[in-house]
Subunit: 373 residues, 2 copies
DNA sequence: AGTGTCCGAGAGAGCGCTCTCTCGCGCTCG
DNA sequence: CGAGCGCGAGAGAGCGCTCTCTCGGACACT
């Protein structure tokens, strides 16, 4: 099975030919550096230099080698390269689902229904693509956590962008323990892990101020699952705003960040407080569901009840009526995550100065006023 | 930088210690096979056998080696392994966007708004996960096509599941040219490429028959972009059904498979044929948009206008009213794709018998009756 | 003219693993 | 009781690349 015969396995007959020499076909059927070198009439090392754009190569030789690469259709073998460089040139965007999430929708459908992940991908790509770093999206529901950890441990990727929505999610800590460059989409106290977050409380406050400012007094909140740290912060910010205005405590209902979840929440809400005139939902998908359910229940939005969402994702503009919402600059945040990851990657490669890891960023939300409030 | 000193670089001092022997730390800081072998007091080859579960190893030795692996925290180095095996143990799910798609929504948001991709992922995972094959999702909008091709050429993955919606998409042919195992989500004539498809025309016919069977006579279609081959087939099947019933030709409007696209189509439609009483939309997202827009225009669904969708994705059940739709067994189809890919992978590994590639499957749609028609 | 210096290309080890080949052992059979 | 056999473990080459070290040649300097 091996390329070399028994008798000559130590020194396989080297092709001495110059520029026009042909070289033995490797086992893979694909040309190797050796083949290109032989065609170009130079050494393997020189071809390697040309490929890696080492500047100290004679321009004429560069040209010859380039032609040889073209002629042979040579493509570097990733495995061989990363065996020595210890880098793969790709990173993973892991979207983790916390355990015990009790949404009726399967994780993967939820993942591919919420525009959030798409926006993160888009933002990350603007940073990674110009640097020619590949991005692989890895969904990680709890049964897949082990497999994902193995994926990263095996060295498929150089670093990980991790999106999680729960502080109870064990995956961040597990990945952090691998000592692989890692950036989280939420504030974290894990040592050596960078993160990017939104000032969630400020966002909640913006929503409260807007509702109150437009004369609403009987408020309610449709929050996310209690273990979602950012959902909690949004809620607290909102409550702060309400308290600051001296209004009575709003009714709080929780849902699962999905459209049907928002609809269901409205039923609970109307039963508890039929006179509600302003609702803050912790994301746009739920806000859309809330809005739909309110209309179904005979309430006009925004005349009878004002609705404010969170995210300013594409569903906000598409909703009926278009949603007033708290804008989260997801793309910018994802860009920041990617940049932090690149920094961590560089650090890992050449640990010049000690543990300068970290360097995290917090973004500021802003209100986008549309028709729903 | 290299692990071995200058003076002993040819034969680095081997640790002769038995079970308790410690071994030099490799450059990566992570334990290697060598280290495990030394701890277990066996040869590298034996450890390799244990890891790869070669059955001819003494159970007692297996146990010793297992313990040594545990103790050292050893994880195989993917690069080294795949350099020799020429396999990586992972496959890509490439979701391609055809060029010149004129949807207003950015590709990535569209991708992560339509539940379709999530269902495909779920289906593929049921086959791949038990076999411990990693799945990386790679979105490929036209500017990223080159990068994706490079990703595959470099050997990041062993095979590709490719989702595309346009016959004008150049990516399938480019990937097929790499001679990497490839399975398409649509019927294709590319040689050596397996595919899985739905009998789209039959689905269209089902929709027509249902509408006609419930007494609708003034029909219309909201089709997908003209270059989407499956959209076209759905349309043709529908038209066939209508013609078979001897009804007048339906009004045909095209949209972009999104919710807002469906809404916009209704405006065109009502202007051209205000008396329409049955609409077939080529996917559920558009059907939901159609339904919403019809209600906004004062038409009751299904009393005034019946609406039939296509896919039976999660939005169908969530819509108001819940959508009658043509069920596409996406998960099953994705499973089939994954299985075909595995077969192709096996083939590529050991090309026993000639070009036995291919072996494709067509699935049959069925009608799911809910409230909208 | 002789020697030192610098620049750029070649030589070759080594990354961590797999896999073939070889060999030693204990067993069965003649 | 010795040759033959089979089974399981070790030895070691090699996968395709990078990168250090070495060396030859062109040039400048004394």
């Amino acid at each position: 099975m091996w390329a070399c015969g028994l008798e000559t396995h130590k020194y396989p007959a080297l092709d001495e030919g110059g520029i026009t020499g042909r070289v033995q076909i490797p086992r893979s059927g694909r040309p190797t550096l050796e083949a290109v070198a032989s065609v170009a009439g130079v050494s393997r090392a020189t071809v390697s230099r040309v490929i890696n754009e080492v500047p100290t190569v004679d321009p004429e030789i560069v040209e010859t080698v380039r032609r040889a690469i073209e002629e042979t259709g040579y493509v570097p073998n990733l495995a061989a390269r990363s065996l020595v460089t210890r880098r793969t040139g790709s990173v993973a965007l892991v979207v983790s689902e916390p355990p015990e999430q009790r949404s009726p929708l399967p994780f993967l459908e939820r993942l591919f229904t919420d525009p959030y992940v798409g926006r993160v991908t888009a933002g990350a790509q603007t940073v990674l693509r110009p640097r020619d770093i590949h991005l692989a999206i890895i969904p990680a529901d709890p049964p897949a956590h082990d497999q994902v950890v193995r994926y990263v441990r095996q060295g498929h990727v150089d670093g990980v962008l991790l999106i999680t929505s729960s502080s109870a999610d064990p995956l961040p800590a597990r990945l952090a323990a691998l000592a692989v460059p890692l950036v989280l989409s939420t504030r974290t106290t894990l040592p050596g892990v960078a993160w990017v977050d939104l000032d969630q409380a400020a966002g909640g406050r913006l929503a409260a101020e807007h509702l109150i400012g437009s004369g609403r007094t009987r408020l309610a909140v449709v929050g996310g699952p209690p273990d979602a740290p950012f959902g909690h912060a949004r809620l607290e910010g909102f409550l702060d705003g309400v308290r600051a205005a001296g209004l009575t405590e709003p009714e709080v209902v929780t849902a699962d960040f999905t459209r049907p979840g928002g609809e269901a929440a409205v039923r609970t809400l109307l039963a508890a407080r039929p006179d509600v005139d302003g609702v803050f939902a912790a994301n746009d998908l739920m806000a859309d569901g809330v809005s739909t359910a309110l209309r179904t229940a005979g309430r006009d939005v925004p005349r009878d009840v004002a609705v404010v969402g969170f995210d300013d994702s594409s569903v906000a503009a598409q909703a009926h009526p278009p949603l007033t919402t708290v804008r989260q600059p997801v793309e910018d945040m994802a860009e920041a995550m990617a940049r932090l990851l690149l920094a961590a990657l560089r650090q890992a490669q050449e640990p010049d100065d000690g543990a300068a890891a970290g360097g995290s960023e917090t973004f500021v939300p802003e209100l986008v006023v549309r028709a729903s409030a």
